[in-house]
């Protein structure tokens, strides 16, 4: 399945542009005068986030009954009020930073997002959330399609993927997105020094600037080489970024630091992809103990997002950015025999940013085990979707990226109650 979904590229990769668009630098002056760019940070929770432990319906008696070891005690959640169905909700106790952001009105949760007959497979699930197409999960990523829709020539740094390999969500037909795990390590080495090294680098760039004809598979590698060599200097400026505060040393913390650096340096990037993994908590999920598995996941998330939020705020860049999370599925409501949770269905998404209208969107599931409970499915085992995830995407596409969601998603998923942006 993994291989076949890549067949879409066959024959389609020969059209790399070899000239670079001038990066859209936004000068400090222009910024002071109110010019803003709009950056999207797509945040993937790898493994299937148990969002019931992140956004907790702590007063639902079935929550406690069905999770004898995993339930967060009501007294420990960070209360954030009730949703429109009057269900009291609280954040996981480790999310103190997100609570601050929520209180500042810049964090939104959308509850019970998913799609009909949600897949419980990690890989199929990621494909569907990435393509935004449950019927053809082998297509291009929705962010990739957005990048493809931009007028050419597109800057080779228009996107920045902070992971090692291209995620499906960024797969595009003609817009390669560089993977830059660390701006510090993004340099061209040489076995020689001085002029000889410069000759090598120039030769490598000239080789890569050529476009092989009728060899699309080889052309793909050429495009990747060119994108690497053509972006080295601008990425080097990000490596020199001095943030206004210290970021956590976690992978997510460092990725968010690079995103803030790219924004600060104005290198022209508009879409970032960051990820934090470990959410496939089948066993020893340990929501409550300090340094428990899920507790640590929340710590990583909280500390990285809070640092990012405050760093941008300190620099007046907060209004330029929107963070949108997704995960392939939520998890089973009842805990399993391993003090963990198995693959489930709908879950909550998170949206954060300087122009976000924060709050709780959608309604919490009622966790009553009655098989006819309309907020649940799978014999009341899993959370039933209330909001199609594409409606959340549509709001971001229309309201933030400024492009037509109907066209990009191949259908009208707009939902007026989701006015978080």
């Amino acid at each position: 399945m993994k291989v076949t979904r890549r067949q879409f590229v066959k024959g389609g990769m020969a059209a790399f542009t070899v000239t670079f668009a001038a990066p859209e630098f936004i000068s400090d002056l222009a910024r002071a005068q109110g010019a803003h760019t709009r950056n999207l940070v797509v945040l993937y929770f790898g493994g299937g986030n148990d969002s019931l432990s992140m956004l907790v319906p702590y007063n639902d008696p079935f929550y406690t009954n069905r999770r004898p070891t995993l339930a967060v005690p009501a007294g420990q959640v960070l209360q954030i009020g009730t949703d429109s169905s009057k269900v009291a909700l609280g954040l996981h106790p480790r999310l103190t930073g997100l609570k601050q952001i929520f209180d500042q009105g810049r964090l939104a949760f959308v509850q019970r997002t998913g799609y009909p007959n949600q897949s419980r497979s990690h890989f199929y699930g990621v494909d569907i959330w990435s393509t935004a197409d449950p019927n053809n999960s082998a297509g291009l990523g929705w962010v990739g399609r957005y990048l493809d829709s931009l007028p050419s020539p597109v800057d080779p740094l228009i996107g920045w993927n902070t992971t090692g390999s291209l995620p499906h969500v960024l797969q595009a037909s003609h817009t390669p997105v560089p993977a830059i795990a660390s701006p510090q390590g993004y340099s061209f080495n040489s076995p020689n020094a001085g002029a000889e090294a410069t000759f090598e680098r120039n030769t490598a760039l000239r080789i890569a600037s050529h476009v092989p004809v009728n060899r699309p598979e080889l052309a793909f590698v050429y495009g990747s080489s060119l994108a690497a060599l053509g972006t080295l200097d601008r990425v080097a400026t990000v490596a020199a970024y001095a943030p206004t505060l210290t970021y956590p040393t976690t992978g997510l913390g460092q990725a968010m630091r690079a995103v803030a650096g790219a924004m600060n340096k104005g290198i022209g990037t508009r879409v970032f992809y960051v990820t934090t993994g470990g959410f496939d908590t089948h066993a020893a999920q340990n929501v409550n103990a300090t340094n428990g598995a899920y507790y640590n996941l929340m710590a990583t998330l909280n500390d990285a997002l809070l640092a990012f939020y405050n760093d941008l705020k300190n620099q007046g860049l907060l209004e330029d950015t929107l963070v949108l999370s997704f995960s392939e599925f939520g998890r089973r409501i009842s805990e399993n025999g391993s003090q963990g949770t198995d693959h489930g269905s709908a879950s909550a998404m998170l949206v954060m940013g300087g122009r976000v209208t924060g709050g709780i969107y959608g309604t919490a599931p009622n966790l009553n085990m009655d098989p006819n409970n309309p907020t649940l499915e799978n014999n009341a085992g899993d959370v039933r979707l209330e909001t199609d995830f594409r409606s959340v995407y549509a709001q971001v596409i229309d309201g933030w990226l400024g492009t037509d969601s109907v066209k990009l998603l191949g259908g009208n998923f707009r939902k007026s109650t989701l006015a978080f942006i």
């Binding site: 090692g164 390999s165 560089p178 390590g185 990747s224």
Partner: protein, 486 residues
């Protein structure tokens, strides 16, 4: 006797191994294709003595602090595997082990996080002869069975200590059946996604309830191993959407707890015999050994699936058929795969030279290229093909080429002089073109490489110039797009 051309041998060894050392070329160029394939698949007739070469002069080096302990130190295990890939005389064994490691993708970190780092390395990489309790780690099990019977591999994997941790089978109990392994054994290890239902997942979880781990004590020779805990087995009947038994039966009957282990064996037998398993494996073998370009060849899949079923899952028979198949030898299959990072690194070592190079210095570059041995990103294995070529990963390949060329700088210059090709840039370019075979180069590559050799002053052929230009040229060729195809 018909001899095989070097071009064909190199194709065969790039796929069935990790490229060709000069001694391998010497050996195989005397054989016909059929003989060469038979030597590769019948590697059992060659002594498995590659580990005895570790530390000897003339071979790739390692960087070991303290005692070499691959059975308890994952860094040592990683170095050992790279060393084996470079120096083995059984290349197909290492290649198939890598195939299975990707197929049954299990990550060291979770095992180490559960039982501690030394135990993590032990259950992933220990060789039974070096472990105090004769533990055979998962990848060693796969190596032993690299061309074994698929049903046996599947059964071994279901009882493998690392797998029982990785997919949580150790906590699969009667009261709370654990779905993780039950799902993945169907989705990723056998029939493939779309060929089972959610109800099958629940049933498979119950089948494997009680397939847990036990450690009798904490002495060094004692260790976690598979244990069927009958009291934790769920004994009722399990019905699947597909045939589990040869007679078409879909229901594993209710059994007493004492006999319940047979459920899992029946189920694994059923999965091994499933026609979709045959097709799933055949398609995966096509992508790994034959071609990643274009669609999977249906004729190939049908034929290989048939060999798999006819031979009752004998991977040696299957691989012999794969390597002799017309699709494998078709002109379109040459250089029709994207080299995995370890394929790229090991082939570069074989092409450029290893003497004085520590394989430890390839581990961080490999990580930057997206591949850490014993640490696939998740249970579906590595995202191969074009996904290896994110820009940062491509840069890491170019930079590894630089590191290796720099490390071999003096030897390269000496080789150029010994071959008498240092007198002109053109002679040197032709020499390295022959040493470092790539997919057909775009004409601009030759032009630019030639320009590079002519840059920075007139050609003198002096030692300093040969060292600079030979290493620079090797850097550029090994880092070129054409060299990334195998």
């Amino acid at each position: 006797m018909a001899k095989t051309s070097d071009r064909q041998i190199e194709h065969l060894l790039r796929r069935a191994g990790f490229g060709a050392r000069s001694d391998e070329l010497e050996l195989f160029r005397e054989m016909t294709i059929t003989q060469a394939v038979d030597v590769l698949v019948n590697y059992d007739s060659l002594v498995d003595d590659v580990d005895a070469l570790i530390g000897r002069p003339g071979y790739a080096g390692m960087t070991i602090n303290g005692t070499f302990s691959p059975q308890s130190n994952i860094n040592h295990a990683r170095q050992r595997w790279l060393f084996r890939m470079v120096h083995t005389n059984r290349p197909l064994q290492e290649k198939m082990t890598l195939f299975w490691h990707n197929h049954f993708a299990t990550g060291y970190n979770k095992i180490a996080g559960t039982f501690g780092a030394p135990e993590g390395a032990r259950y992933m990489a220990a060789k039974s002869s070096e472990d105090p309790g004769q533990v055979r780690g998962q990848v060693e099990m796969l190596r032993t069975n690299a061309l074994g019977n698929f049903r046996d591999i599947l059964l071994n994997i279901a009882k493998d200590t690392a797998m029982l941790v990785w997919l949580d089978g150790r906590t699969n109990t009667k009261a709370k059946p654990q779905e993780n392994f039950g799902r993945e054994i169907m989705e990723l290890f056998s029939v493939g996604v779309g060929n089972y239902t959610e109800e099958d997942v629940y049933a498979a979880a119950r089948v494997f309830s009680g397939w847990n781990l036990q450690r009798p004590g904490t002495l060094a020779e004692q260790h976690y191993e598979f244990s069927y805990v009958s009291s934790q087995h769920e004994t009722s009947a399990k019905t699947f959407s597909f045939a589990v038994y040869p007679d078409g039966g879909r229901t594993i009957p209710a059994r007493s707890a004492a006999d319940g282990q047979q459920d899992g064996i029946d189920f694994i037998n059923g999965l091994a015999a499933h026609p979709n398993t045959a097709r799933y494996l055949a398609a995966k073998l096509y992508r790994f050994f034959v071609s990643e370009f274009g669609a999977v060849n249906v004729t190939f899949v049908n034929r290989i699936a048939n060999v798999y079923l006819q031979s009752r899952y004998d991977m040696k028979a299957v691989m012999r058929e794969v390597l002799l198949s017309p699709e494998f030898w078709d002109e379109s299959a040459y250089y029709a795969r994207y080299a995995w990072p370890v394929e790229f690194v090991v082939r570069a070592l074989k092409d450029v030279g290893w003497s004085g190079f520590s394989v430890n210095d390839a581990l961080t570059p490999l990580s930057n290229m997206g591949q850490i041995l014993y640490e696939p990103p998740d249970v579906s294995g590595w995202d191969a093909g074009q996904n290896w070529f994110a820009t940062g990963a491509m840069l890491a390949r170019m930079n590894f080429a630089s590191t290796l060329a720099g490390n071999q700088k003096f030897k390269l210059a000496t080789a150029v002089k010994d071959a008498g090709v240092g007198k002109t840039p053109e002679a040197m370019l032709a020499y390295f073109g022959d040493q470092l075979l790539t997919a057909p180069q775009e004409s601009t590559v030759t032009t630019e490489l030639n320009n590079y050799l002519h840059s920075n002053g007139a050609w003198t052929g002096a030692d300093a110039q040969l060292q600079a230009k030979a290493s620079g040229l090797v850097h550029l060729i090994v880092g070129s797009p054409e060299y990334q195809l195998v």
